[in-house]
């Protein structure tokens, strides 16, 4: 008698996984579930609100500087302010941030000045020589290639037994790259103190998420690396902050890496060099404006009687003032001497290049 083929049901299940999604505020600012502990302090929420509002005002000015030829290509955070701000606000000063090019807000929060950020995007490396968080990495321009650095930084913390955490931010396009996977895989093996955060803004320039991956969530990619991945509403700064706080605390406590997928939407162009109208229907963008993070938190704060028209106007004026001063300083930065392009190539310029430095100096000084 021929043996009956075994059905799938008869085979044992050896692993089951689940991915949870965290959100506290609905798009209209109403509360969906009990808020995390830190949110009981209204001042803490106002502080997040100010961070996001300052970012948006700064981005707006940066774009107008770019349009008038006074800044290079620039990537705004429009609609995604809650990701950078929520994550950065959960970090300690001694932690190390590894940002992507869209994370100006996280740097601002961590104490990099507006004029330093403008200086970098204005085409001057001195902008990365910031006085703020001295171990933080500069913006990573090639997508996702800083993820292995985050694992290396976390490895250094582990070797030195320092209770510090590396936090790496990248976009959803980066999750298609081997770099990110290789870093996550290694971090999982060694239970490193690193938190990976993906800003899933749905669009990698013109390529939508559905062409990036068939994965139901990006958070589940962490499961294959042996650690937890969580999806959060990336337009809910309370959710981003709470998820980051928990992930960073776990990593600091030696419990290994975490992965956070912040689901948001890129309301603006990819950068000032892009025109999203060429590939993205305006109706889609319009619909997404209803979910944006700043109005959402404002609605909640207004509902709590913690915010109103007066504070809003005052904040707007404050932001304008801070930004104007920063722009003035940025535009007044003294130019670099051309031959200084040699000066940080190596710790000490090799003799072999001394003649080239002299050649440039003579050529540029006429």
């Amino acid at each position: 008698m021929a043996e009956r083929a075994i059905t799938d049901e008869e085979l044992p299940v050896i692993a089951r996984f689940e991915v949870r999604q965290r959100s506290y505020l609905a798009p209209d600012g109403t509360v969906l579930r009990r808020l995390p502990h830190f949110a009981s302090d209204t001042n803490a929420l106002v502080s997040l609100y100010r961070g996001m509002a300052l970012t948006r005002a700064f981005d707006t000015k940066a774009v107008s500087l770019q349009r008038t030829g006074r800044l290079g290509t620039y990537a705004v955070s429009l609609g995604q302010e809650a990701v950078s701000i929520g994550v950065a606000s959960a970090m300690r000063g001694e932690d190390v941030l590894l940002p992507s090019y869209r994370d100006n807000a996280a740097l601002l929060w961590r104490g990099v000045t507006m004029e330093e950020i403008l200086l970098y995007w204005g085409g001057d490396e001195r902008g990365n020589h910031w006085s703020g968080p001295v171990h933080d990495f500069p913006f990573c321009i090639p997508v996702g290639s800083h993820a292995p650095h985050a694992a290396g930084v976390a490895y250094a913390f582990a070797v030195r037994k320092q209770p510090r955490v590396a936090v790496c931010l990248f976009g959803e396009g980066a999750t298609s790259k081997g770099d990110v996977w290789e870093a996550m895989n290694f971090a999982g093996v060694h239970k490193l103190p690193v938190v990976f955060v993906v800003n899933n803004n749905q669009w990698a320039i013109s390529v939508p998420l559905k062409l990036q991956t068939a994965s139901e969530t990006l958070a589940q990619k962490a499961i294959a690396a042996g650690f937890a991945g969580e999806q959060v509403d990336g337009n809910d700064v309370i959710a981003v902050r709470a998820a980051a706080e928990e992930a960073i605390a776990e990593a600091r406590a030696g419990k290994g890496p975490r992965f956070i997928e912040a689901v948001t939407y890129r309301l603006g162009d990819h950068t000032t060099a892009d025109d999203a109208a060429r590939y993205r229907p305006p109706e889609e963008v319009q619909a997404r404006w209803k979910e944006e993070p700043i109005a959402r938190l404002r609605s909640y704060l207004v509902g709590q009687n913690a915010w109103g028209k007066v504070q809003e106007e005052q904040l707007a004026a404050e932001c304008q003032q801070l930004i104007e001063v920063a722009i003035e300083r940025y535009l007044a930065t003294s130019p670099r001497l051309p031959e200084t392009m040699f000066d940080n190539l190596y710790a000490e310029l090799p003799e072999a290049y001394a003649a080239q430095r002299r050649e440039l100096k003579e050529a540029s000084h006429g």
Binding site: F137, G152, F157, V159, E182, A352
Partner: protein, 326 residues
Amino acid sequence: MAEVTLVEAVNLALARALSDDPNVIVLGEDVGVNGGVFRATVGLQQRFGPQRVVDTPLAELLISGLCVGMAAQGLRPVGEIQFMGFIYPCIDQLVNHASRLRNRTRGRLSCPMVLRTPHGGGIRAPEHHSESTEVMLAHIPGLRVVIPSSPERAYGLLLAAIRDPDPVVFLEPTRIYRAAKGQIDDDGEALPLDVAFDLREGQDVTLISWGAMVKETLAAADQLAGDGIRAEVIDLATLKPYDADTILASVQKTGRCVIVHEAARTGGFGAEIAALIAEHGLTSLLAPVVRVTGYDTVIPLPRLEQHYMPSVNRIAAAARKVCQFS
């Protein structure tokens, strides 16, 4: 003082560095329990523990990227890429990050890392295990590219590379890993980077090479001596930044130059040296600069490999030709 092979000298230098500096971390595929496929890291994990001698997952991009992150935090990582044919996923990290982290932060962060990899053919290895693509690396600003040709220089230059405050790619000539023997006093003494080594003094022709081909080049010089031709032999040792002064001083003396490398000819590092001599040493030349190199082909699998590699006879013939030119 003990007689050791080149690969043993590498091992001694790594052990010395690990012992002297708690910031040194050795990482790569099979470098731990197994001691490396060429035995370069043998015994290191037993001695210094798995946290400082790390068996990484099989991911070359990761190894180079981890080095950047570690180095930026002040560790001194020494990554191993098992064969040069597998170094290409690291190029992104070397070009975009390691070599420019200091520059793009104006010195706020730096990248004191070493990436070691076996270099070159002639060991009858499988495909992709015989590469000599040093010129690709030597084109990257901000990087150092070093290649020893003897156990003494392997030991001294590797220690210098690990102590250097900037990223170094350290190429190890596979063919002479065990064939080259030398006396090493394991005293932690480094040799200078960025400096060429004058291995043999001569008046008639300058022979320049690096890595495993230095062996054939020295043998060619012996053969030439039999014909009364006094060849000077220079081991370039550091390809980036390279020691132009030593080359030009030698060519000024001899008026003739033959460059020997096993990498393909077109755009090889020999072209850079020929251009240097054309620009700065033309008036001292008595004959055209000649390159003896691998051909502009893919390095063949073992059955034809010996026809690809520059031989002692090819080098000597080229030197005779330039000596007969004038």
